[in-house]
């Protein structure tokens, strides 16, 4: 174990604020620094992950104040897996956006600087959300995440980014309000902010407070997790943000949002009915999102809605509970991060020159940019779950888990939703390859580094598809960890005994 | 040696079929003439015609399919004949009657029509093609009651072999009395099979100028005439075998077959031609009902 989880937060925060200064020295450093930092963090967290998979979770205390008083970071196989995934996606997003043309359109390098700064902060915040063991700290990280996301969504002046960003901000601040209220109730009743401690004392809560807090949490986190009907902001944000940011949303931000819901339901509160709630809300989210996606005319919006739908599926998987369910859900999150980011990255290059990003403008683009189109098609095939691509295994896992719990109706619903998915994704693929070009739009070749990160994602899709075992092991471990609530509490609270 | 005898037997059968068939045709022409108040040709006129046609020297053709059409016709007429027991007890040229059953024969009988159809098609004469399409449509029409009748008998006596059916009729008496409904359906189907008026929509001398055969002359026509007559005899024999228990000797066979032959002939004399869809609808009307009734009857019994 080379470093402690703290570095995963501290270093990027520090680096983020260092970027402008470095920029003064040499402009190129603005672009390079984030990559270097993220690369190091990735190495760090992979190492930590390996360690924790062998020796169990690592609990790091900040500033010597042991839980339940101080703030602690918990790096378990579960949270560690998510953090690693986020950092990995962050790295790819950085590679992809390195000298991304539209950033260079602006004459000064200010926007570039802001972009990288915000990106750093966003990744940091997401990692922080996943790692922190303190509920108020969680709130802070969520807020940082939010603010950076607002900024990045509004990145383009010439688009409707501001509008999307405002919607995001509006809903997001409501979310933070409820979150704060909930935290307040918890604190006023239990006098603690540490998750493990709350989990221990949760039974002391009066039912009314417990329920109210739970509901407030559910709504607040539901907004982050793009749960219907709280997800009005999501499609706009996805479709208006720059391509790499869209990929980052799908690959990083949503995962943080989901994590909060899961942590709440699996660790914080022992409340009956929450799993059913997850399943029902997940299904509803799925249905409405896929319906909307089906009748989209703009590519990125379609991808956005489809992403929401996937999140719904993940919620369902988590709602199934048990180890298989969690395993399936994590697998889905992984696949979704990989595939959807690939779709965003390649898709936005396919409609690069077009102003409105209409799907109909994709006609026959396959001839003009073969590799990008192929990658998009690969992503489409993977996400609708055609074997032998990555998406299939997660879908199979979900269905098997559902079947084990005897939820045949849910299986049927999921599959019928997949039918819709198949249709609208293959309609796009058809347009790309099998419909004659009818627009005179030019094309923009992806930059080598963008192509590189897309190829990496494509390769992962194929590898996981042909040999899922590369990922299943850690997934199983992670899901086991998440379900083992007792050891979580134990590991966190034991520190206080060990130190004083 | 055995093989030689068999072959000779087969040839003899064919010759007999040819003679009898031609004779019936002649009689048909005679009777028709009499009904229409004409003198009509002598009964042996058909032999003369056949001889004349075959011995004609020149013959134009429009290609190999037309050239081979008579061969196809002969296959189904002669072939079917060989697979049908001519006389009961097989004292007389068993031929191949133990080697095929009803369903096989049903299909084998079609081969000729198909070859003929292709041959006629190649002539490029529109009338020919029209005639063919009519013929095929009509076939779909009458096959239904015909098959129903046959299936009815098969399930009544648990066999699909003609010889077995004949043997059974020795014990239980003729099938036309055992399962009269089936017999009626079969007879009505036979009207279509023989393509005499009102079902002569294939040839339709008035509108199609004798349809499929309009481009055939000389030895083609001769062969087709002979095959037609053989085929007529074959069908009649088949009916006799199926419904009248077959014949013990040639005389009885002639009587029985001729009696049957009178049915389509006389029915034709007194009725004008149908249009194709009328013909089809006709066969899918009462004949089919009878066939269904026969099925039910044979299941119940």
């Amino acid at each position: 174990m080379v470093g402690s989880p703290v570095q995963l937060i501290a270093i990027p925060l520090f680096a983020a604020f260092l970027i402008p200064l470095l920029g003064k020295a040499w402009k190129e450093l603005v672009r390079i620094t984030p990559g270097v930092v993220i690369l190091y963090l990735l190495y760090l967290s992979v190492d930590l992950l390996n360690y924790t998979i062998e020796h169990g979770r690592v609990v790091e205390v900040i500033a010597g104040w042991t839980p339940p008083w101080g703030i602690d970071l918990v790096f378990s196989p579960f949270s560690g897996f998510l953090a690693t995934l986020m950092l990995f996606m962050g790295l790819l997003v950085w590679i992809y956006s390195y000298r991304y043309q539209t950033f260079e359109d602006y004459d000064d390098y200010e926007p570039t600087l802001k972009y990288y700064l915000l990106l750093m902060m966003m990744i940091t915040a997401s990692v922080g959300v996943v790692l922190t063991g303190d509920i108020f700290n969680l709130f802070v990280f969520i807020e940082i995440l939010g603010i950076t996301a607002y900024g990045l969504t509004a990145y383009y002046r010439h688009r409707d980014g501001a509008e999307a960003s405002f919607k995001y901000l509006f809903i997001g601040s409501l979310s933070s309000t409820f979150l704060l209220l909930a935290i307040m109730i918890i604190y006023s009743q239990l006098g603690t902010l540490n998750m493990a401690d709350i989990a221990v004392k949760a039974h002391e809560l009066k039912p009314v407070y417990k329920i109210t807090a739970l509901v407030l949490f559910l709504v607040a986190f539901g907004i982050e997790a793009e749960m219907f009907p709280l997800n009005g902001w999501a499609p706009d944000a996805y479709s208006q943000a720059p391509a790499p940011v869209g990929a980052a949303f799908a690959g990083i931000v949503v995962k943080a949002g989901l994590y909060t819901v899961i942590r709440l339901i699996y660790t914080l509160f022992e409340v009956g009915g929450t799993y059913e709630y997850l399943i029902v809300m997940g299904l509803i989210t799925m249905f409405f999102a896929e319906f909307a996606a089906f009748s989209q005319t703009k590519l990125k919006r379609m991808l956005a809605y489809s992403s929401i739908g996937q999140m719904g599926l993940v919620l369902v998987a988590f709602g199934i509970g048990k180890e298989e369910g969690v395993y399936a859900a994590l697998f889905l999150m992984f696949n979704h991060a990989i595939i959807k980011s690939l779709l965003f990255m390649s898709g936005s290059y396919l409609v690069y020159k077009s102003k409105n990003k209409y799907i109909s403008e994709l006609n026959g683009v396959g001839k003009m940019m073969p590799v990008t189109s192929f990658l998009f098609a690969l992503g489409a095939f993977a996400i609708v779950g055609f074997p032998p691509f990555a998406g299939f295994w997660s879908k199979l896992a979900v269905l098997t888990a559902a079947a084990d719990s005897g939820m045949l109706l849910i299986i049927a619903l999921i599959l019928s939703i997949s039918l819709i998915e198949v249709i609208y994704y293959l309609r796009v693929v058809n347009r790309i390859y099998f419909v004659k070009r009818d627009t005179d739009l030019g094309i923009t070749k992806p930059t080598p580094q963008a192509m590189f990160s897309m190829l990496v994602l494509g390769a992962i899709i194929l590898i996981v598809g042909f040999y899922p075992d590369v990922i299943t092991g850690v997934l199983h471990k992670a899901s086991a960890t998440l379900l083992d609530k007792g050891s979580y509490i134990n590991d966190v609270l034991s520190l206080s005994q060990t130190i004083n | 040696m055995d093989f030689l005898i068999k072959t000779l037997g087969a040839i003899a059968t064919i010759i007999v079929a040819f003679i009898v068939g031609m004779l019936y045709m002649g009689i048909n022409r005679k009777i028709t003439a009499r009904v229409q108040n004409r003198v009509g040709p002598p009964v042996w006129q058909n032999y003369i015609d056949a001889l004349k046609l075959v011995s004609k020297k020149t013959s134009v053709h429009h290609g190999v399919m037309q050239h081979l059409a008579p061969a196809f016709l002969m296959i189904s007429s002669m072939g079917t004949l060989l697979f049908i027991p001519i006389l009961r007890g097989q004292s007389w040229f068993p031929n191949l009657s133990y080697h095929g059953d009803l369903i096989f024969i049903l299909y084998f009988m079609v081969l000729g029509s198909l070859g003929m159809a292709l041959g006629a098609g190649q002539t490029g004469n529109p009338n020919a093609a029209i005639g063919i399409t009519r013929g095929l449509s009509q076939m779909v029409g009458f096959e239904i009651p015909w098959v129903m009748a046959l299936v009815a008998m098969m399930i009544q006596y648990h066999t699909t072999s003609i010889s077995d059916l004949m043997a059974i009729q020795q014990q239980h008496g003729w099938l036309m009395f055992q399962n009269p409904l089936a017999f009626l359906a079969a007879i009505l189907a036979m009207l279509g099979m023989f393509r005499y008026s009102p079902f002569d929509i294939v040839g339709a001398p008035a509108e199609l100028a004798s349809g499929p055969i309009s481009e055939f002359g000389g030895k083609y026509l001769g062969l087709m005439m002979s095959s037609g007559s053989i085929f007529a005899f074959t069908k009649l024999t088949l009916y006799v075998d199926l419904f009248m228990g077959g014949a013990s000797n040639i005389v009885v066979l002639l009587i029985e077959t001729f009696t049957l032959y009178l049915i389509p002939m006389l029915y034709g004399l007194v009725s004008p031609r149908y249009r194709t869809e009328q013909a089809i609808r006709y066969f899918w009307g009462w004949p089919t009902v009878l066939g269904l009734a026969a099925l039910v009857y044979s299941v119940v019994i």
């Binding site: 409820f178 709504v219 319906f291 269905l399 099998f434 419909v435 | 072939g79 299909y107 648990h158």
Partner: protein
């Protein structure tokens, strides 16, 4: 590393290599493609022994591949056709663009089919099934013609089938905690009754889609006719048989144990028969050769489904026999149409005419396939039909016999229509300089045509394999009871001697032919314009071939049947759904405040009902 790895490896690797070989040069690509098929087929038939097994462990799931005689039977169809159609497609596809893509998917679908017949567990079965599906889909839309209509229809129905299959698979897993097919057939009876029937029906649905059974057939005509003919030969010949393969397994191992056994069988049998009947009728009225053959394929598959559903010994033999034979003659027919399309430039039956003298060999193979298709002796097509009838009669499905008989009799109509319209009729100046197709295309067709004749005389050579396959499926040995090398028996011991039929036919034919060719000199050829059309003779520029409203009288006769078209209902349903989807997305009305109100409302409602849904 046994023959299974090798075969699949060669096919998969060959597919990818073929794609990249395209970048090098067309010749390399073609060589790569054809050698892949030939080598795979050769190795397979030389090396494959029915007890080979290969096991993979993926994602905690054991995928086991193996081979038994049933699989062997179907792999004969697949690889046999693959080799012939493969050679055929080299000249046929010459000059078309992105052929690397086409050939890759061609090989991938073969890979998928081989995987299916080798699969010993449901997951690998499903994986290969999907690979087959999407690769064939990519070929269906390959030429880009109405891709979003035809292609989506195909993939939608395929996915529907595949997903119902998937649901059945996970249900099986939840009950038996094993994906193995052997465990399934062993433990099927131990499941709760509701699961049994559900699983069986779901699987039947899944396979019926591929086997184009009504009402799941609507994709088939378009898909078959839209794919390049050199692939449709595989598509209709082999790929649709995968559905039959699945149905055989389902009916033997599951349906026979159901309490509702009888009803399931009858329903499916009837659906098959109705499919046969209706598809035949629609085939009769098609004016495009591809469409006609496509419908005819659906009809033929209808017979097969009926045979499988009845599931008696002889009907199984009949169904498998029909599968093989249909594979042969339908593939041949599609190749013929492909050749005509390539040489004459169209497949419109109202345009084509009089090609027989231009393309004699093509006509010959078309004629043989036609006779086989119509089930006329002495060609092999008749064996399967004969057995089917016998089985239905001896099994007491009397009405069913009539329906099927009607279908096959009506089959003559379209058989004649396609033969006549393409090859016969008056010759047209526009087709003056049409040449016979290149040898690589003709030879496969003629080979199949001759095989049809050969097996007609000696069906035993095919029935042997079928017998082995059925023994695997738990049926008693049928040789000697139902068939000998050249003889067929029915339930009541009546027999048909195929060889004698063949010999008689040939004898008579040759004799008469000699009579006809006697003094052949005198018979001179005259052009098809030289006809006795009431004395006048059509000029060069006018063509008197009978083309339009070919079967108008028949159409009038059966007009009541034509009133119902199932695709109409499907379209209405689809439109309704789309309208509904479009309506639901209005929820996202773009106003941030509305979204905020959603949030608050949701919160309030949740607070109000929280006590009912959450139990502390």
């Amino acid at each position: 590393m046994n023959i299974i790895h090798i075969t699949l490896g060669i096919l998969l690797g060959g597919a990818i290599l073929t794609y990249f070989a395209n970048k090098i040069s067309g010749v390399v690509r073609d060589l790569m493609f054809i050698s892949t098929i030939v080598v795979a087929a050769a190795l397979f038939f030389i090396k494959m022994t029915p007890d080979t097994v290969a096991v993979f462990n993926l994602g905690g799931i054991t995928l086991s591949l193996g081979m038994n005689h049933l699989g062997l039977l179907f792999s004969i169809i697949i690889l046999g056709l693959a080799v012939l159609a493969g050679f055929y497609s080299l000249p046929y596809m010459k000059g078309k663009d992105n052929l690397g893509f086409f050939y890759m998917n061609y090989l991938l679908s073969i890979f998928g089919m081989m995987g299916i017949v080798m699969s010993k567990d449901l997951v690998s079965f499903f994986i290969f099934w999907e690979i087959m599906t999407w690769s064939s889909y990519l070929i269906v839309v390959y030429n880009g013609n109405k891709a979003n209509k035809i292609g989506i229809k195909y993939i939608l129905f395929s996915a529907l089938g595949a997903y119902s299959m998937l649901m059945a698979i996970v249900m099986v897993y939840s009950q038996l905690h094993s994906f193995s097919i052997a465990d399934l057939s062993a433990g099927f009876t131990t499941m709760p009754a509701s699961y049994q029937i559900t699983i069986a029906l779901l699987l039947i649905t899944g396979f019926a889609v591929k086997a184009a059974m009504m009402p799941l057939h609507v994709w088939a005509p378009d898909a078959y006719s839209n794919a390049p003919m050199s692939y449709t030969a595989m598509f209709s010949g082999a790929l649709s048989k995968m559905g039959v393969y699945g149905l055989v397994i389902v009916f033997v191992t599951m349906v026979s144990h159901l309490p509702q056994n009888f009803w399931v069988r009858e329903t499916i049998a009837w659906l098959g028969a109705i499919t046969a009947g209706m598809a035949t009728i629609y085939a009769i009225f098609q004016d495009d050769a591809k469409k006609l053959l496509a419908y005819s394929s659906v009809a033929q598959l209808g017979y097969i489904i009926t045979g499988v559903a009845i599931g008696t010994e002889i009907s199984m033999i009949a169904a498998l026999m029909l599968s093989i034979v249909h594979g042969m003659f339908k593939a041949n027919f599609f190749m013929v149409v492909g050749a005509v399309e390539r040489q004459a430039g169209t497949t419109d039956l109202t345009v084509l005419t009089g090609l027989i003298r231009k393309m004699p060999w093509t006509f010959f193979s078309a004629l043989m396939s036609a006779i086989a298709l119509a089930g006329i002796p002495p060609l092999v097509g008749y064996v399967g039909k004969w057995m089917l009838y016998e089985s239905l009669i001896s099994n007491g499905n009397y009405i069913l016999v009539i329906v099927i008989f009607f279908a096959s009799t009506a089959g003559f109509l379209y058989v004649f229509k396609i033969l006549y319209s393409i090859f016969l009729g008056q010759e047209e100046p526009e087709f003056e300089n049409v040449k016979e197709a290149p040898a690589l295309m003709v030879i496969p067709m003629v080979i199949i045509a001759l095989l049809l004749g050969f097996f007609g005389a000696f069906p035993g050579y095919l029935l042997k394999y079928i017998d082995n396959a059925l023994v695997v499926m738990g049926y008693p040995v049928s040789q000697g009871k139902w068939w000998e090398m050249t003889t067929l028996f029915n339930a009541w011991g009546n027999k048909v001697s195929t060889d004698l039929i063949m010999y008689t036919t040939i004898t008579v034919f040759v004799t008469i032919a000699i009579v006809l060719f006697y003094r052949w000199k005198n018979g001179r050829y005259v052009s098809t314009k030289d006809i006795s059309l009431s004395g006048e003779m059509p000029k060069e520029d006018e063509n008197y071939s009978f083309k339009l409203d070919f079967y108008k009288p028949f159409e009038r006769a059966i007009s009541p049947l034509l009133r119902y078209k199932i695709s109409k209902y499907y379209n209405e349903f689809a439109d309704g759904m789309e309208a509904f989807f479009d309506w639901t997305r209005r929820i996202y009305n773009g106003n941030a405040q509305t979204y905020a109100i959603y949030v608050i409302t949701f919160l309030v409602i949740l607070l109000l009902i929280a006590n009912n849904i959450f139990t502390v």
